[in-house]
Symmetry: C2
Subunit: 250 residues, 2 copies
Amino acid sequence: MQRYFVSGNDMSETNVTITGDDANHIAKVMRMENGDHIICSDSQGRTVLCEITAVDRDSVHASVIEEIQEQKESPIQVTIAQGIPKGDKLETIVQKGTELGAKGFLPFSSSRCIVKWDEKKGQKKILRLAKIAKEAAEQSHRSVIPDVFSPVSFTTLLKQATDFDYKIVAYEEEAKEGETKRLAEVLYSMSPGSTLLCAIGPEGGFSGQEVSELKEAGFVSCGLGPRILRTETASSYLLSAVSYHFELMR
Amino acid sequence: MQRYFVSGNDMSETNVTITGDDANHIAKVMRMENGDHIICSDSQGRTVLCEITAVDRDSVHASVIEEIQEQKESPIQVTIAQGIPKGDKLETIVQKGTELGAKGFLPFSSSRCIVKWDEKKGQKKILRLAKIAKEAAEQSHRSVIPDVFSPVSFTTLLKQATDFDYKIVAYEEEAKEGETKRLAEVLYSMSPGSTLLCAIGPEGGFSGQEVSELKEAGFVSCGLGPRILRTETASSYLLSAVSYHFELMR
């Protein structure tokens, strides 16, 4: 069944209003009518089954049939801090990471980033990434849309890291040297509800200096398996491992 | 350091010959010269550090400096049986799957495949996928290039499945119904050296009939976490979970 996210203001105890692109999607793309059913989430964890009661030009109205109890959100809130990569890789990372359960994405610039973030075009890019996150969240039946933050400097990343319970850095030199214990150690030490920040370098990885600073800021340097992963694959590995550990293995 | 795969015939106890595109890459792209070092793998598990001794027009000669002992290959040989997806998704699946440790890729057609495999263009496509696998294997420092097989029918898939020790099918209806135990159960029952075949449907998934036939053929129906994954994300999840389970957690 088709799923839509609405803002909390547009969802009451008994009624839901869908506006904007989604209203258009319901009316024009899906050609739904009164009596058709949809699922709506307020992105705060409330998900309801609804019946459409009116399809207007700019909005769709629906009444709540029942609350849907489902646990689609990871017990661990993982934020991916991603060194800004080339091309459209950030879009891939946000789309796949949303499917795989990420709570947020924090792009950052570091010494080996090839792409310089353009402040002017940047805001538009963030809006586009937020849209990708919303659509991927709908498609993967999540009840929360992950946050896509505006890029920060490496120094700001280190400061913001203090907000997280656990911090790791995916460091390819660790993979090369056969580091295989630390990720599992970190995951075993976490409990449901914990927050995890995972820093992943851009294509060229982190400099030695940056890794030292990350470690000083409390990041645990982990290998993500023995093979060298591309920057856009590292987040998928981490999120899948977290999901396997907390959602399947236990 | 740059890595190249060579055929076993081109690697002796003491010498390696690199031909074709790779020789061109060394000479023209990397502009390497006598005395430069490269790493060569015979794709059977032997990896050596070499010094270039001659750069000819069509070939590069190198002498073996030392054997490299490294464990980059998963203890579990995972073959991804992938329902033929649309567009260039198969390329993504092969590239990411190679990085994440897959042993092979077996595309198959099933009732909900939208793309019909074109026998004529197909051979060219398989060669292209094999090239993607080789390049991804080099880039991720693997010592084995995964096999990319020509597509088979669903019936042939069921027959070939008998060659594998363990078989699972990623079934989104299981994820929807909250199945969370079986993947971990299967992985806990496997030991290093085992072979695993994982069947993943195309965009539209498997029909109920197909899932029944897969189960009859010994496939265990597993959810890959509570969220609904796109067809091209399912293999990444599975391979990451296998890597985490066997390469990091133990």
